[in-house]
């Protein structure tokens, strides 16, 4: 009955609110994801960028409900198409996995079972959610393989993963993920294990399929080039939090966070003189057990003295600076704009 009194709120297709994923270990609590919020619409692509260990993969696993097997402590809310997933029971989330949301993994060789044929694995994925005969599922698997650009799908369907090349395996992986026509597709570093020419093909494929199926896509990567090509929105993660998010245009053209500047500076560019060195971000990603106090990025930040003591005492809030562009930094907007236009942009 309480439903009657709740104001009907229009939720976004995917809405993550204050998601936290913590792991208890012998050394202490690992705060892999610590207060993450974002939204995503159908047909749009969100790029999540960050170094290794910034919590990108953990948050995507949490979306899929796969963290339930890892004894993680989770809090917050994940709304997918009007349903809250964190509080849903295991069986219900399982029935959504593969059908409503699907995932492409980084290394397709280890992500596919070595003892079953590629076809068998796609057929299995399809038949969990569709009550059809093996023959029908097999036909569907061949269609999917054909759709993702695998030549001679009729015979390749009976090959084992080790008989495929790296790029072909990733295509097969995509075919498997898309076999049930998911509305949310999460691609966790889909091109990292592939060589460069194949990378571009796979990205194009994901782009095409997204347009064809109209799904929402989350693409997780540490490669800014990948998100530049695919993403509508970008979220930059650092130490389990979002430090900057907004439309791809905003984040690429007027980045506001020193960490984003660092990521842009460490990206190799073909239009640059080879004698110029890349600008790596100094230091290493922080331990997720002892996250630095205040702004987690301050030990590596060149501008940490500008805002004063607040950098080490207070965690910066994610503040909207207009057009949905949000930044978590203690510097004032003016200070950041000045540094970006005078110091950072000319060097890029």
């Amino acid at each position: 009955m309480t439903d009657l009194y709740e104001a009907p709120t229009q939720r976004h297709f995917l809405e993550v609110d204050d998601l936290r994923v913590h792991f208890n270990t012998d050394d202490g609590v690992v705060k892999s994801v610590d207060g993450l919020s974002f939204k995503l619409e159908r047909g749009k692509t969100l790029g999540i960028v960050g170094e290794s260990g910034s919590g990108k993969s953990v948050s995507s696993m949490a979306l899929m409900g796969l963290q339930r097997y890892a004894k993680a402590k989770m809090s917050g809310e994940i709304w997918l198409d009007g349903e809250e997933l964190l509080s849903a029971d295991d069986e219900h989330v399982r029935s959504l996995r593969g059908k409503k949301m699907a995932m492409i993994f980084q290394d397709p060789l280890s992500a596919m079972h070595p003892f079953y044929t590629v076809g068998a694995q796609i057929i299995e994925a399809y038949r969990i959610h569709h009550k059809v005969t093996k023959a029908v599922a097999r036909k569907h698997a061949i269609e999917m393989l054909d759709r993702v650009g695998i030549p001679q799908p009729n015979s390749r369907v009976d090959d084992y993963p080790h008989q495929f090349s790296g790029g072909m395996r990733q295509r097969a992986m995509i075919a498997m993920a898309l076999s049930c026509d998911p509305e949310l597709l999460i691609a966790d570093e889909p091109t990292t294990a592939l060589d460069v020419t194949v990378q571009a093909q796979i990205l194009d494929l994901i782009k095409d399929l997204q347009q064809e199926f109209g799904s929402a896509v989350i693409i997780i990567t540490h490669d800014l080039g990948v998100v530049a090509e695919l993403a509508d929105d970008i979220m930059v993660m650092y130490a389990g939090r979002s430090v900057e998010q907004g439309s791809a245009r905003e984040v690429f053209h007027s980045p506001q966070h020193p960490y984003t500047w660092g990521l842009l500076g460490s990206m190799p560019r073909l239009d640059r003189d080879r004698s110029e060195r890349l600008l790596p971000i100094k230091g290493t990603p922080p331990s997720l057990i002892n996250v630095p106090s205040g702004c987690a990025f301050h030990p590596r930040c060149a501008y940490k003295d500008l805002p004063g003591d607040v950098t080490t005492s207070q965690v910066p809030e994610l503040v909207d600076i207009g057009n949905g562009h949000k930044v978590a930094c203690h510097m004032t907007v003016d200070q950041r704009l000045r540094i970006w236009t005078n110091e950072i942009q000319p060097k890029l």
């Binding site: 899929m64 796969l66 992500a111 079972h113 969990i128 080790h162 993920a177």
Partner: protein, 322 residues
């Protein structure tokens, strides 16, 4: 392979005694009565071919296996048809029929025991791996440690004492019914030996399965299987256990091969008249041809089991090509 086995067996049984200082006459003395004098023994040694050069003896040994052999012990000549694994002069019988006679007992013991230990060992290992650190895991692994450490003549006698003599649930040692006569009684008679044999092996398999499952359940393809939305049971059995099965198959093949050759301890503890008991009796009575026969048979089983395992690999793991 079998050729190498035949040479090895031949060398062990024919050459080692000679290196140890035994003369042809010493060997022959085992085949004659106690009253025989030195000349008679020497005559026997010549008749049996112990005085011939080694390669001739080996040739005769091989010929016996493939074509059969004739043994003449004075007035009568006994024909030992191929494959002749030797002729016992103590019982005046060729060895092979004896072996074949006792083989069903050993086979029953091995197959039944294997089924018991495979089902218990593998399932205990899987559950232990899935609930790592739980009470079940620690209890099962504790029992497994006991199982691996306790010898059969201890657990076997204990089981006999409790379940047969005190509780009277199962027959005493020495009971054996042919499977073809009465399958139910056959199984009933063999329950205790099976369980005893299985206890030792199940423990090893439980530990092996647990380790394998712990490894595979952390693999990427398990995550993929879950991401597809497969029920957890399917993930564990079809994806996890399937991958963890390879090393288990290897060990299982070898164990079965060895067990078919003989399970001396179990057979002796339960007074079962199988190959193990036969071997034991042959050894204690110094009846070389019998020991030799059992050894060749056992070696053959081990080799065949190995071969079967290697062939099975192709079925189990498609990445393996012969």
């Amino acid at each position: 392979m079998l050729f190498i086995v035949s040479i090895a067996v031949f060398l062990i049984f024919f050459l080692l005694p000679r290196i140890g200082g035994a003369t042809a006459d010493d060997l022959a003395s085992r085949y004659v009565g106690k009253t025989a004098d030195a000349a008679q023994i020497h005559l026997m040694a010549e008749k049996l071919g112990f005085t011939d050069p080694l390669y001739v003896q080996y040739g005769r040994f091989l010929a016996g296996i493939f074509a059969g052999a004739d043994y003449s012990t004075g007035p009568t000549t006994v024909h030992c048809p191929a494959p002749c694994l030797g002729y016992s002069f103590i019982t005046q019988n060729p060895v092979l029929p004896d072996l074949l006679d006792r083989f069903p007992v050993t086979l029953s013991l091995a197959i039944g025991g294997a089924i018991v230990w495979l089902s218990f060992g593998v399932s205990a290992g899987v559950v232990s791996a899935l609930r790592k650190g739980s009470l079940f895991d620690r209890t099962a692994m504790g029992i497994a440690l006991a199982g691996v450490s306790l010898p059969i003549f201890f657990t076997g006698l204990l089981a006999l004492n409790i379940f047969s003599y005190n509780l009277g649930w199962f027959p005493a040692g020495g009971s054996y019914t042919n499977f073809t006569d009465n399958p139910a009684l056959w199984a009933y008679d063999l329950v205790l030996p099976w369980v005893t044999l299985a206890f030792l092996n199940a423990a090893a398999y439980a530990r092996l399965t647990r380790a394998g499952m712990l490894e595979t359940m952390g693999e990427d393809f398990i995550r993929t299987a879950r991401a597809k939305g497969l029920p957890e049971r399917t993930v564990v059995v079809r994806h996890g256990l399937r991958a963890a099965l390879t090393p288990i198959t290897t060990i299982f093949g070898l164990d079965i091969g060895i067990l078919l050759g003989s399970s001396i301890l179990t057979e002796h503890t339960y007074s079962l008249n199988g190959l193990g008991a036969y071997a034991l009796q042959a050894i204690t009575s110094n009846d070389l041809p019998k020991v030799l026969g059992v050894t060749i048979l056992a070696a053959t089983f081990v080799i065949v089991a190995n071969l079967v395992v290697d062939i099975l690999y192709v079925v189990i793991d498609p990445r393996v090509r012969i």
